[in-house]
């Protein structure tokens, strides 16, 4: 038996500022060359666990350690972070913040600079590491012009600078679009295979990580390890739903169809050996006649006709865009970064104005309206709630727009209270904003928009950086806005699950053009659209191909079944 490279024995940790420990009773051995996934909802302690391995605990975060943690033969509580950084490389979640250098080359060189490697010796290493992640043509580029995926690749090349033995990836998929996320998972897998290094991935997006093989999954909840098993066993168990982790879509479909989960290679859809019984059940499920989701025939509230826009005269960001959005629709606006989806949203909100074409909002040409007037009809909720909140107390924040518009006291009071109640924040109305969680802050920003009583909500990446639990919570609440108050909802998103489960129609942008505006199941079954929008085929698509069924109708059946279940609830 090999010696473990990382070994936790009866380990616990409590942050100095906190009363209760964040980690309890951790007993874990990781062996050289293993590829491990640490799975868990937000706040389950998975990042804290990794910070114990890379030395940030206790170097940067003070606290009380109980038990022992040995990394590469060194006891971490007494080792310096520098000693650990020689054997552990960490790629952080925030790809932007960890880009320390002012060029790709400089960032890759950063750890070598700190090791006092002479420049002449750095250059070949930078060249080698950059080409390992496919960034060799970008060595002179500045961080501001790189995409999230490219920054992440640079970060990976950067931790190779000091030739580490253990690689930790902290939520590597959080800021990437589906296609980039898939590439990242493949890259991590290739590195682990080629170099034989020990790889630890922290994620809550199970299906995306399982795109490539992992040896073991450690499931964490509330500071404890609740499961340590192979991916197949975990998928067969009921642990995922118990601990708030989203299961892969194909697995959901199999459960809906009443399949048994004893098939081999359950975690890998491509290699999955479906039993003939399961195949029959799935085929029956996907062909069963179901009530079709009703098409929305309300009057249009937003109409773009031949809209073009360019930030400077050289390149058009949007070219001749035309589409309609009907009252009460839920729309997913999809496309890779820079494809024009945020520009379209900004045009709708009047922050920028079209060079050509017209935008009609509830029958009025927006060129005759001010940003403030448009703001009364369209509520724009930004991705990061921290960039929106300006007041200290929740109630004041929600009432800000009303105060500016000098709405009479009692009317303002009524609107604020309605908004707070709908968003489930009424109880906390006098709490300071600092004391609530990220998901709750998100709801505060929606509530502050609701107080203005717009008819249309634009939500920019509403689920980014959130685990399944807060995802479902937000979606439930947004769907209430839609169903009970008849609000039109526009999601700007990369999240395919969100699109499948919560929208009626998808508008897809690519390179400034509108390439699709259709029912979600048609869009997601169109391989051309999928690749141009930097999406990824859903596992339902793959499952349909495997079963010899039509992908479009397969996805449609799945959606219809989910809606049926939903309406029964």
């Amino acid at each position: 038996m090999k010696e473990p490279i990382i070994s936790f024995k009866n380990f616990g940790f409590r942050y100095k500022q906190q009363k209760n420990p964040t980690l309890f009773d951790i007993d874990l051995d990781i062996y050289p060359g293993e590829k491990i996934l640490i799975l868990g909802a937000s706040g389950s302690g998975k990042t804290t666990l990794c910070n114990c391995i890379n030395g940030l605990i206790p170097f940067s975060y003070e606290g009380e350690i109980t038990g022992t943690c040995t990394v590469n033969g060194t006891e971490t509580s007494s080792a310096s972070i520098f000693r650990l950084s020689d054997s552990v490389g960490t790629v952080l979640q925030d790809t932007d913040a960890q880009f320390v250098g002012l060029s790709v080359g400089e960032d890759i060189a950063f750890s070598m600079e700190n090791d006092m490697v002479p420049r002449a010796e750095m250059l070949p290493v930078i060249e080698k590491n950059a080409s390992m992640v496919g960034m060799q043509d970008f060595i002179g580029h500045v961080p501001f012009n790189l995409s999230g995926g490219q920054k992440q690749k640079v970060a990976i090349a950067g931790v190779f600078g000091n030739d580490v033995e253990i690689l930790i990836f902290d939520e590597p998929l959080a800021s990437l679009d589906p296609q980039m996320g898939m590439t990242a998972v493949e890259l991590i897998d290739d590195i682990s295979k080629e170099t034989g290094k020990t790889v630890i991935i922290i994620e809550h997006r199970l299906e995306d990580v399982l795109h490539r093989h992992v040896d073991r999954i450690i499931l964490m909840s509330a500071g404890r390890i609740v499961a340590d098993m192979s991916p197949d066993d975990l998928l067969r168990s009921s642990l995922l739903s118990e601990y708030g982790i989203r299961e892969p879509l194909y697995l959901t479909a199999m459960k809906y169809a009443g399949c048994s989960l004893d098939d081999n290679n359950l975690c890998d859809l491509d290699a999955l050996e479906l039993s003939s019984d399961n195949k029959e059940r799935l085929k029956a499920f996907f062909t069963e006649e179901r009530e079709a989701v009703k098409e929305n025939t309300n009057e249009p509230v937003v109409t773009f006709s031949d809209v073009s826009y360019s930030y400077d005269s050289r390149k058009k960001v949007l070219r001749d865009i035309s589409f309609e959005i009907r009252r009460g629709e839920r729309i997913a606006i999809i496309g890779r970064n820079g494809a024009g989806k945020s520009t379209a949203a900004k045009l709708l909100c009047g922050i920028i104005r079209p060079d050509a074409g017209t935008i009609m909002l509830e029958g009025t040409d927006t060129s005759t309206l001010s940003v403030k007037e448009i703001g009364e009809k369209v509520g724009y909720v930004m991705q990061d709630p921290n960039t929106m909140i300006v007041k200290d107390i929740i109630k004041d924040e929600v009432g800000l727009a009303l105060e500016i518009r000098s709405i009479p006291q009692d009317e303002a009071e009524r609107r604020i209270n309605t908004a707070l109640e709908t968003c489930g924040l009424y109880r906390m109305r006098n709490w300071p904003v600092d004391s609530i969680s990220y998901g709750q802050k998100k709801r505060v920003t929606v509530a502050s928009m609701m107080a203005i009583e717009p008819d249309i909500f634009v939500l920019d990446e509403p689920t980014a950086g959130q685990d399944y639990h807060s995802y479902t919570e937000i979606m439930k609440f947004v769907n209430t806005l839609n169903r009970e108050y008849g609000k039109t909802i526009l999601f700007i998103t990369h999240d395919m699950h969100l699109a499948i489960e919560n929208t009626d129609r998808a508008i897809v942008f690519s390179d400034g053009e509108l390439i699709a505006s259709d029912r979600v199941f048609s869009v997601l079954a169109d391989p051309d659209v999928i690749s141009r929008a930097s999406l990824k085929q859903t596992s339902l698509y793959t499952l349909a191909v495997k079963l010899g069924l039509d992908p479009e109708s397969t996805i449609r059946h799945f959606i219809e079944y989910e809606r049926e279940v939903e309406s029964l609830e």
């Binding site: 950084s85 925030d94 880009f99 600079e113 931790v159 960039t387 300006v390 800000l400 203005i452």
Partner: protein, 310 residues
């Protein structure tokens, strides 16, 4: 955005751009010292010309430079000098040492040839320092600046602060725009429609989330740096400090020459044989100087000399 701020993030193609960070920092330091040390137009004009040549050789985008120059010229020079004229029209006498009045309005308010000379020299001096800053900013990437400073002997932690500050400017500018947009949609008026006081108050509203998001990033950057061994040793090497080009020794030699000249000038004309006034003026010969500069940093030396009866 880079152009608006005249920050150069990627090294350019010309000879000046390609010099090592150390050469550029060294040149800039000596150039600044030379410009600061003198009010003598016979030295200031050549220094200005050198810097203008440097700028032109880099073939920059002139528009932002001209805009910046116009702003400094209008605010500092024009406004400042008109005020100066009303407050102390006698600066010509105290700095140049003579007074030829060309337009007398009253006893206390008059325009002299020396006043005009004073503001002209001052303008040349300011323009020369402006040009040297621009030349440096255009030629140097923030990383080269940091590595150059470190090579000049400054502690590398301070140097890293310099490059990190530059690193975050575009991000902060981006955040600012996003926050401003969301505020505008909520009805916070930031355009010219609102009064100045209201706009000021509303801008403060934006600063709250801006500062908090910036602080949030600090922790992440610090962790990223710790994890890659920042601060491990007393020294570090710099990727940005590349090999010397053909021109580096030449420019360094010229800089040393300039340093020697500046030192010679300071010792010869400011300490050993100080000129009685700050400003050399073509029509005021040394023997006709009436009044020496009362507020002269080197007045103690002059005073000692006078005591000795020289």
């Amino acid at each position: 955005m880079n152009n608006k701020l005249i920050i150069n993030y990627t090294p350019g193609p010309t000879m000046m751009h390609k010099l090592t960070g150390f050469t550029k920092v060294f040149l800039f330091a000596v150039m600044s010292a030379a410009i600061i040390s003198t009010f003598d137009i016979r030295l200031l004009v050549p220094l200005l010309i050198i810097n203008v040549i440097e700028i032109v050789s880099m073939k920059p985008d002139y528009k932002p430079i001209v805009v910046m120059f116009a702003i400094t010229f209008v605010t500092v020079t024009l406004v400042g000098n008109i005020m100066l004229f009303f407050v102390s029209p006698g600066v010509g006498l105290t700095n140049v040492g003579a007074e030829h009045v060309i337009w007398r309005i009253s006893d206390k308010l008059y325009l002299s040839k020396e006043f005009l000379w004073y503001i002209f020299v001052f303008f040349i001096k300011r323009t020369a320092s402006f040009a040297s800053v621009i030349a440096f900013a255009l030629a140097t990437t923030p990383s080269e600046f940091a590595s150059g400073l470190n090579k000049c002997g400054l502690n590398y932690k301070i140097c890293t602060i310099v490059s990190l500050a530059y690193r975050t400017i575009p991000d902060i500018a981006n955040d600012f725009i996003n926050i401003r947009n969301s505020m505008m949609m909520r009805g916070v008026e930031l355009s010219k429609k609102a009064s100045v006081g209201k706009r000021l108050k509303n801008t403060v509203l934006i600063l709250v989330p801006l500062i908090f998001t910036a602080f949030g990033k600090v922790g992440n950057i610090a962790n990223a740096m710790d994890l890659r061994g920042y601060g491990k040793h007393k020294k570090r090497t710099w990727y940005a400090e590349h090999e010397k080009t053909r021109w580096d020794p030449v420019i360094r030699a010229l800089t040393v020459l300039l340093l020697a000249l500046t030192l010679y000038y300071i010792i010869r004309y400011r300490i050993i044989d100080p000129y009685p006034v700050d400003y050399w003026c073509p029509w005021v010969p040394r023997e006709e100087i009436q009044q020496t500069n009362a507020i002269d940093t080197l007045f103690i030396i002059k005073w000692i000399k006078r005591l000795k009866g020289e």
